[in-house]
Symmetry: D2
Subunit: 301 residues, 4 copies
């Protein structure tokens, strides 16, 4: 894993102070070019609903708790006016979300060699999610692995390697290139929608093989997103290891991850007309020094 | 106010069950046309930072409180792996945000005649922010009122009427039409950035005159957004009344409002090249039955 | 149930405005007399730990989430001074706690005939937990039902009737009288400590039979507490009904309930020396208009 | 300060593993003796209300936010049954509260020499508030400094030294001895109740002089509490230093502090009959590894 990490590493590529990593690949030129992918103007929202029926079983993470602070009761205001407000308490990693580059590290170094102890009780001193505020928008590509395999969903632990990524892209007639937001569909969201079982959803998942990191690096993908909750296969390829794809992608490559997305409607539309690329607009909320952000990205076709 | 409300009312226009209101005006055709406004691909983020230094003085609303649940301490994991996570507690109306159509009502009716008691302790039974999940993206137009007046910011209580909207649009060489996301800059964000005074920010504001509702209705604007916190002038035009523009726009017209945005960089860019329209992508988080959502909309030029 | 409720009802007994109910029975004289029950000065704490390993499975209620806001990191202060602070987010009903008299009602009336709509989104307009602020302290009596039955714990749905309460009191050589805080041990806490299964703990429980309400009324008990989570047997005696003991005790009698306590050490000490009464000091936190309060009552022997 | 700290230090006094400090002085014998101070059975509650009108101005700490999750709306249950529940989000240091021995430290050592890095993002690995669960109850003594000085309240920065503590005790005819919970009244709560100004309350305060630490140590006081928010005078005696009394009392002596109490009614009663000692029962909530706990202690006379 460390060898692979060293090979795909992007440290210093955008300067010694860089905190953004591969989203630097989303250049204005590429954004402008991606605008041409808006064909019919139909919008697909990729965020899952934020409510008590979400995929979190409790424990490390929980579903959002939204509580009303005002609903009109006890209000006596001019003009019969009534107003409502609400609060939320939630992990920023509870549903559809970005992992900032401060989310994981190893050997006491974050992406770009920033010291691991920059992540304190106050949050991310470097690589916080607020540094991605101006993104993330550009060319999105969906690789529908489950459809290509002809299954409703891949099984937990099933790995997706470089060859399969190539094969699916070829079968779909789409290429993946620099600055792209690459989304891959494992069917894991479909499984949750079918079973409504948070423990089943979170106790494992299909996902990228470790070797796919090289594939992403070769193509200079900017962001990778999935309908699973951790991008990578769990259990992973190396029994004694933990979240190795996270470590290489986030810490070595500097890649922002988008997790727990819903591609169900989008995948249907892509299959129907054969267009698997689109304009992607998924701005994070700008939590200063935040480790992550809930998102509801739009795919506009 | 009630007379104006009746005149601009959109009830029934998109069916008796409609919960989305004027965002129905954002048709795929208009979204596709708006893609043509992406000229250079430069992205401007309009959300304000979410942290303890935000504009909320406490009381009704407070700034977000983000707390770390993991930062690596006490973790002993294979491969020297460390991870971080965070939680947030916040009013959904604390910073840059949408008011859903359930945010205000009067005479016991919400937008489209939905009963006011649909807003319960559980949230918005009708018109929740989740119903806007597939939006909000399309043509954005900025009217820079403060720049047109030649001031850093308008004073609290200063009203912006239909004539001024016309004049600013004409001076900027931009028109406002059906399905547009109309953003108007009062300088109120600049004032906060200058003074860093939450009480000064929240105790009043410049904003739309009540009569501007008719102007918005005539042009079939889809969404209106501002750098102030309530769209309308406060104190308002009628001393005995409260939030009359909210009532007419949200409850009668069915218009989603975007508040507490930051147009400072965008306005500079628009002034520099004279293009005041752009592609706007501002998806709300999909809080089921939520009254509002924090946002970080992107303006892509 | 309604017939029983009418029979044991305490409405008007302490005035038409009363919001405190049976804690009015804890008179200064009785508190002073209870002081004589402090024999050796040994203190037993009856609150369960407040942490992620508590009995809440999630869903309606969750275990407390305590998060650190300061732990010394990033602090540079004179004298090498470091400080720590923490926040909690929790249901007030998550662990050991009082149900205020606003917790349940039926037929649109709270205790003492206060209107049901006094309980709004703002909290308890009447009968909030803050009205019990000066309590709750006085003579405590433990009835150890599980020990008397010779079991580790009673089964879910097992009911405790008036005859058994009498029999246990007689066997223990203790009487129950006016103003007493009556605690009864079902072993349900022991079950949780043995099994560590929140679902098993919350999906049912042994507890008081409906008929025991009359027994409590006849003795003018001030507060009833248990190691289960709802005082009464669940499933209850009447298949079509729900929480009937709650309704009669809280709404008709005006009795504050203390739930999810831990009597394990106390019960051992009582069994060892045969003294089943003690001084009880269990002040609620004064949440204004609160429906409940977490507690850690002390039994001092 | 370090010299004084070394002089009054209690490290090792109750064993190398001790995490409780001076509450070890509250022996069963002393608790039993204190029971004799319950004369009339009248109860005074010393906790301040927990609500939005509390003394926190926001910033480092905020007032509790209690939100209803259920109030009966949308419930359709057998028997016309309605129920209510609520959540709270609050700093554990927001109102009347204990500072655990993990709250402050210096020179990288907590009380009893426990390493400072035991306080992590997970909380207090040593000296958490849960270790005080069986307390805190025993003999309470009130020294009414403000009344003795003949003022409504002392001014911010006004210090209370050993001589004044002696003088007030003598004038009140009360002695202070081993295991006592010593409460001293500065009038700071009265000031807040008069002015309702959180900034005025929190920006400074009268309190103990640093030299009083020796006085507390000589008498082996178990707990010290006040109606101010930090026990000590702020600004303090040494302009360049910060919270020196906290450091010596908590870290060196191992003394639990009780802050932001309300003695107004209790002080009136004490003055009326000349009895300034009473039974004190102030159990903390058992937050595992918590740095503090909100409290509502009872003084029973």
């Amino acid at each position: 894993m460390r060898e692979l990490g060293a090979r795909v590493r992007n440290w210093g590529r955008w300067g010694a102070d860089d905190e953004r990593g591969t989203t630097n690949l989303i250049t204005p030129e590429r954004v402008a070019a991606a605008a041409g992918l808006i064909r019919t103007g139909e919008i697909f929202d990729l965020g899952i609903p934020l409510d008590a029926d979400g995929p979190q079983p409790g424990g490390v993470r929980m579903n959002p708790i939204r509580l009303m602070s005002e609903n009109g009761q006890e209000q006596v205001l001019p003009g019969g006016f009534k107003w409502a407000d609400d609060f939320v308490f939630m992990p920023l990693q509870a549903g559809s979300q970005y992992d900032s580059l401060a989310h994981v590290h190893y050997d006491e170094k974050l992406y770009n060699g920033h010291p691991g102890d920059e992540v304190t009780i106050k949050g991310a001193g470097k690589c916080g999610i607020h540094t991605q505020g101006k993104g993330i928008a550009g060319r999105g590509v969906l690789l529908d692995i489950a459809r290509h395999r002809g299954v409703d969903w891949l099984e937990a632990g099933s790995t997706i390697g470089a060859d399969e990524l190539d094969a699916v892209a070829a079968a779909q007639g789409v290429d993946v290139g620099p600055g792209d937001i690459l989304l891959f569909r494992t069917g894991w969201r479909a499984k949750f929608l079918t079973e409504r079982d948070p423990h089943g959803f979170m106790s494992g998942e299909p996902g990228l093989a470790l070797s796919s990191a090289q594939w992403l690096r070769d193509r200079d993908v900017a962001v990778v997103g999935s309908d699973n909750w951790a991008i990578e296969a769990i259990p992973g390829e190396n029994p004694g290891a933990l979240f190795e794809v996270h470590m290489v992608l986030i810490r070595d490559m500097g890649m922002t991850l988008a997790e727990m997305l819903d591609f169900e409607e989008l995948a249907e539309a892509c299959a129907a007309d054969g267009h698997y690329d689109f304009f992607f607009a998924g701005p994070p909320l700008k939590f200063t020094r935040g480790v992550g952000s809930p998102i509801n990205p739009l795919a506009i076709r």
